[in-house]
Amino acid sequence: MNIVVLAKLVPDLVEELTIDANGNALDSSFARLIINEFDDHAIEQGILLKERGGGSVTIIAPDAEGADDVLFTAAAKGADRLIKIKGDFSNVNNHALARAFAKVVSGIKPDLVLTGVQAHNDLDGALGPLLAELLEMPYIGYVSAVSINGDKVLIKKEYPGGLLAEMDVQLPAILGIQAAEEPPRYVAVSKVRQAMKTSSIEEQDASNLDPCGGSAIGRMFQPEASSHATMITGSPDEVAEKLVGVFKELGIV
């Protein structure tokens, strides 16, 4: 089983986000990047599949600050091959990214491609289904369990309210992982360091970054905080009094 996992970096929401001077994109010079958390789950799911049924896991990430760390960390978890796509990916949309990935992925001829179901900064759809259609592979998102079954995979797809649908998908296919079957494992720093010594990152050039199919953003802004809530202030005692007043108004006490 030749498994490919796509990982991208997104702005870390622990930091304050800023809008760039043009007012229509995030200021990428100021953002600190972190692996998209769903991609972290996709990596874990890929490694779990390999541990259960063998095969190889290739991780592909677009170049960005921190991409090497993401790749080596995946190697420390058990990934076999690391590929970094070179190019300027700051403020590139998912349509362009998907086209860049398509070229690299098709060269690998994978049986199964895993990626995070979404990223918090997606503005033109998630990466997985865009790539799937470019490669003419079937796609299912919101997946939280995967088992390989010959030339098919049996997956569990999440619906609201805890309902799951079991679906059979013909391989090769792309899955958008919502949650791995186990939470992403911890890798000790020394293991990552070891991986840096023993594994290497292949570099491939992104051909053209064609954003066609995305939507132009005219303006980005930060929503006004606390614009709707009426703030109740005072000491805990006073606040509690006022809240009881609200409960009375609503007829529940």
Binding site: V14, E15, Y186, A188, V189, S190, K191
Partner: protein, 396 residues
């Protein structure tokens, strides 16, 4: 036998893990360590039995039992051992490391370690906000990277002192005291990373080295004469562990630094207090590093204050439960023990009839205040850092 081979290599590794690791061979099987361990009664293999298991080539058994995550690295066993075996930094940390390398880490601890890797602090806060606690202090606290001039004293603030909202008020108190004393000091701010000591004792040695390396580079960028710190864990790391990595600077805990200036401080302590104060020796200031007197000297310098000792004090002090990763195993240990060491300690404080439980470690104020909420009769007990007591007595 493959297992025995693996065990051998582990045994050897423990022997080499600390400079005095060879002493493990000297274990008398007296059981002192297990007897004094605050969680020993909950461990399938308390320290002495761990050694016995290792000698019997049953390391696999040790890894299976999760006893080791009950260890809060309090140094009590190490201090009690007649053979002077470095149990806490040697055996305990090595077994934890084995589990960390296998990726077998309780969830909470995993989060703290991941955060430390990613953000340089276990709380997962933005490193850019590390100096935010100092925002409203006048005269301004100098951040070395901005100030770009030598200072006399570099203050290594530490994680919880920088970010934890409760501890920030202690941190601000110390900043005001240093200002009042006219100390020429600066902080690293965003250049400062976690000292890494608790991560090391929780078994993540590689992470410790990475963090130490970052701090070493930050120290190297600036000019100063000495380091002081608010955090006993940072104190322990910079004093005892960083030098092994070639990072050597003179360091004092802030209580040592202030105690040396008592002559200058005493006339400033104008406000009399009638409080009875008891003092909790932090494991990594007291037992691990022998700093017992300076904190006490500072407390006694406050006019009107009486100092009462708890049943366990000095070398015998009881751990608050936060050290060596305990801060990040709270839920895990609670599941197993359904008691908290901090609660035990608060009860001892109550027994002294003290009004105030004085502390000198940033883990402790939140832990003891939390415990005081649940321990019966502790509602009146105030938990204060020594810096806060001094500032109050100065009336500034």
């Amino acid at each position: 036998m493959i297992v025995a081979e693996a065990d051998r290599s582990f045994y050897d590794r423990v022997l080499q893990a600390t400079p005095e690791g060879e002493r493990l061979r000297l274990c008398l099987e007296c059981g002192n360590c297990s007897g004094i361990c605050p969680f020993g009664y909950l461990m399938a293999y308390p320290p002495s039995r761990m050694i016995a298991m290792l000698r019997a080539d049953r390391f696999d058994k040790l890894l299976e039992a999760d006893s080791i995550w009950m260890c809060v690295s309090c140094y009590a066993c190490t201090a009690a051992c007649p053979s002077k075996i470095p149990l806490t930094p040697g055996l305990m940390a090595s077994i934890k490391e084995e589990l960390v390398l296998a990726g077998n880490v309780p969830n909470e601890l995993q989060n703290a370690l991941t955060n430390s890797q990613r953000y340089g602090n276990p709380l997962g806060e933005s490193p850019r906000k590390r100096a935010d606690w100092a925002n409203r202090i006048a005269p301004e606290v100098k951040i070395m990277g901005k100030f770009k001039q030598p200072v006399d004293v570099l203050w290594f603030v530490g994680d919880y002192a920088s970010y934890h909202p409760r501890v920030q008020s202690t941190t601000r108190a110390l900043a005001r005291i240093l200002n009042a004393l006219g100390v020429d000091f600066g902080i690293l701010g965003p250049d400062e990373s976690s000292d890494g000591d608790s991560q090391r004792l929780a078994g993540e040695h590689g992470l410790f080295e990475m963090l130490a390396d970052k701090n070493g580079k930050a120290f190297g960028k600036y000019k100063f004469n000495q380091i002081i710190t608010t955090d006993p864990h940072a104190y322990n790391a910079i004093k005892n562990e960083y030098p092994k990595l070639g990072i050597s600077y003179p360091i004092q805990h802030y209580t040592e630094f202030l105690a040396e200036r008592l002559d200058q401080i005493k006339p400033m302590l104008k406000r009399e207090s009638k409080a009875k104060v008891t003092y909790h020796d932090p494991c990594y200031l007291g037992r691990a590093n022998g700093v017992f007197d300076p904190p006490r000297a500072l407390i006694k310098a406050i006019p009107g204050v009486t100092l009462a000792e708890m049943l366990h004090n000095h070398t015998n002090s009881l751990c608050c439960g936060g050290g060596g990763g305990g801060m990040w195993l709270d839920g895990f240990q609670w599941e197993k023990a359904h008691v908290r060491l901090s609660e035990w300690r608060v009860r001892e404080a109550l027994d002294t009839k003290a009004d105030i439980l004085a502390v000198a470690c940033p883990y402790e104020t939140p832990r003891f205040e939390d415990a005081a909420k649940t321990v019966e009769g502790a509602a009146q007990l105030k938990v204060k850092d020594i810096a806060e007591l001094l500032l109050e007595a100065m009336g500034i």
